[in-house]
Symmetry: D3
Subunit: 158 residues, 6 copies
């Protein structure tokens, strides 16, 4: 078992994917940001404010997915064919759930893109709400499912 991003001398490198065939890759990631009930209530209030908060986080997540290779040093640049982000306000657990889905026809998986989209969307929600609640916590950012590629499919056990 070895870390593929290191060579035999332990030095970081960008691994070669030239010999991998192009195929459809998909990944779905999730995470959440926990907050005070009063903070969540501000987001849950009907009307436009909610629209712009979630829309802003959604756009931030989509754009971050596209720039993953700039943020994560050893990620390959790739041309995502699809990115979506979904939000769910959960007043039982006092959090906003964030789910991202990415798809690619290409030579590398898109797990990092989905995880990056979730992380940056959560950070954006933190930024939009931090004036009223600095104690929010970003939690449970994880890969839920991955399809395609040589390493096979992955599906998180419940």
């Amino acid at each position: 078992m070895t870390l593929t991003h290191l060579n035999a001398r332990g030095e970081a490198h960008m691994v070669d994917v030239a010999d991998k065939p192009e195929s459809r890759r998909e990944a779905r990631a999730r995470g959440r940001i926990r907050m005070q009930p009063a903070t969540l209530a501000l987001l849950a209030e009907g009307g436009l404010p909610k629209g712009d908060v979630l829309a802003t986080a959604r756009i931030a997540g989509i754009q971050a997915a596209k720039r993953t290779h700039e943020l994560i040093p050893l990620c390959h640049a790739l041309a995502l064919s699809k990115v979506t982000l979904d939000f769910e306000l959960d007043s039982a657990q006092n959090c906003v759930w964030v789910e991202a889905f990415c798809r690619l026809n290409g030579r590398t998986g898109v797990e990092m893109e989905a995880l990056t989209a979730v992380s940056v969307a959560c950070l954006t929600l933190y930024d939009m709400c931090k004036a009223v609640d600095k104690a929010m916590i970003i939690d449970g950012v994880q890969l839920e499912e991955k399809r395609g590629g040589r390493s096979g499919d992955f599906s998180r056990q419940a």
Copy 2:
């Protein structure tokens, strides 16, 4: 209690900080990535591999802190005077702890910069280890402490 990043019509905007005085701002944020004991053991092995894994995550976090305003749509561009990242391998809890500290002489707080550095460092660790462990979870990304600025200091309760 209102969300400062929205105007009265609920539309997103970048809030004015022109009238705030320049002062020293500091923020410290933490988070962790949980993994299989075997994955952590790979990181903990002596020698250079560990060096390059943590060094890569550290550089990624520092660079992300500098680009926070590109990632988080309503953040102001600012000129951080200091960024540090620290990592702690915790074999009791099977995780790597990541802590970031940012400082600025300026008109806005640097909480988002510290949280962004932690998030991107965790994502980079995920990327470096994902060939051996896709089930890792980024957890507990949170502000620990903040000093300076009109909104006063913040220190997380234990």
Copy 3:
């Protein structure tokens, strides 16, 4: 009368602003995107769709304002203290009006930032609507008002 961005040999350079005092600079720019009445009606329909279209264009404009110095080769990097974008759906003239306002405490004007925000917001509206209307026209992108700085104030004549 000379072009300040060229030296005596006609070569481009980034002009020196080191000796200018820091002062408050403001700029307001406008523009519009003209479209078919049916396209405008799609935007004007009540409900969330409108919210996300305008919210997306607003975020794009704000982010572009912050990156003006990357887009316009001879612009100085600067730390905007405020950016706002406003949209007005005009069914009489079959267009969406876009107005941007930028503010800075600094050594250079922020006209380019306001004009860039308007242009990129209009381009984003084009992108969101192009599946139904490829003939839209971005028109009248212009500086409306500018305050502060050695070159004095500017206010467009009606």
Copy 4:
């Protein structure tokens, strides 16, 4: 007739292009910046100054075309195979015409890339000339022609 960049709930997303075949896509866009006759005369003066002004705007437009997906939130990253920009000084209409042409072998159209190149080239001309003329207007930024892709060809009616 619907806006393809919104899902059924009106939320923005990056539409899937994975099932589109790769094909040759081309787009040609135009726009102009109107100015005082004296401003245009400065650009039209023989010699190098003109060269550097137009060369700077050309480079800015080419680079912006390559970064369109960073500026326009829902645009796909793509690898343009060709970008050209042409300028025409028009002393009858007191303006500089800007035309951009983009080509791609890929799964999405390149209209946004051509329009972005025109817009940023015009903004760069504004920046280079604003010391002598702040009232310039960017006008008529529009798609002239598009070829390839499922939605068919487009050619603007005279």
Copy 5:
């Protein structure tokens, strides 16, 4: 013999590669940074410091290779399949040698990516050491070898 990046009027443009077939392209570039013996000795000291200096330069070089098309105006965006950087401390010649290797399945060569990686890695070494030695010189940045593509292979003569 003409410069392919200029058209018949001498204007810069991004040349068309749409008709080139996709093929494997590789390039290897080298360069070095010369320094005082005492500076080199600091880098050569055993232990982690050396690790982090070289690891930082390596990450900087890899990331720069991915962003070459943003830095070099007429370069095409492309999706490198592999990037590696190697460093050699040479106490005989008082320098650090930097070698970069890039690979792509695509329509353009990757010489610029390899040369950019070397240059930015050298600049990063300068930055890390400049507190003790401002007189360092970056030297001999050159293409060593190139394979694939219509223009044929290149191998530098010893």
Copy 6:
């Protein structure tokens, strides 16, 4: 004598400049690209081609100076007040000399910005000429002079 960008454990960090006073900083760097006489002759030919080649390299260098903190991991973001690049075609030594000058009112030196501008301008010249000469060499990239800041002035000995 220690490397300031490493802490006591040899880990990279961005050093604190918050306590440094703002002052005027200047740096001048030089470098050159050596080429075949025939290649240089192509650049030296009268007319516009030369204009666009050098103009393109100049713009690339200026833009790179502004983005130095994105390229060099431990550099601080800063707001350059002035950037100029000069080129000299030297048919005696068969090279193009590139000189960059940067100025800042701030808390850090601008050596890295000047060196980065020179490097990227040289890389751009390589790119523009590589179709006719792949053996060009970028040489002698070095700091010529530096003024301001706690570490004092530097002037290279002839």
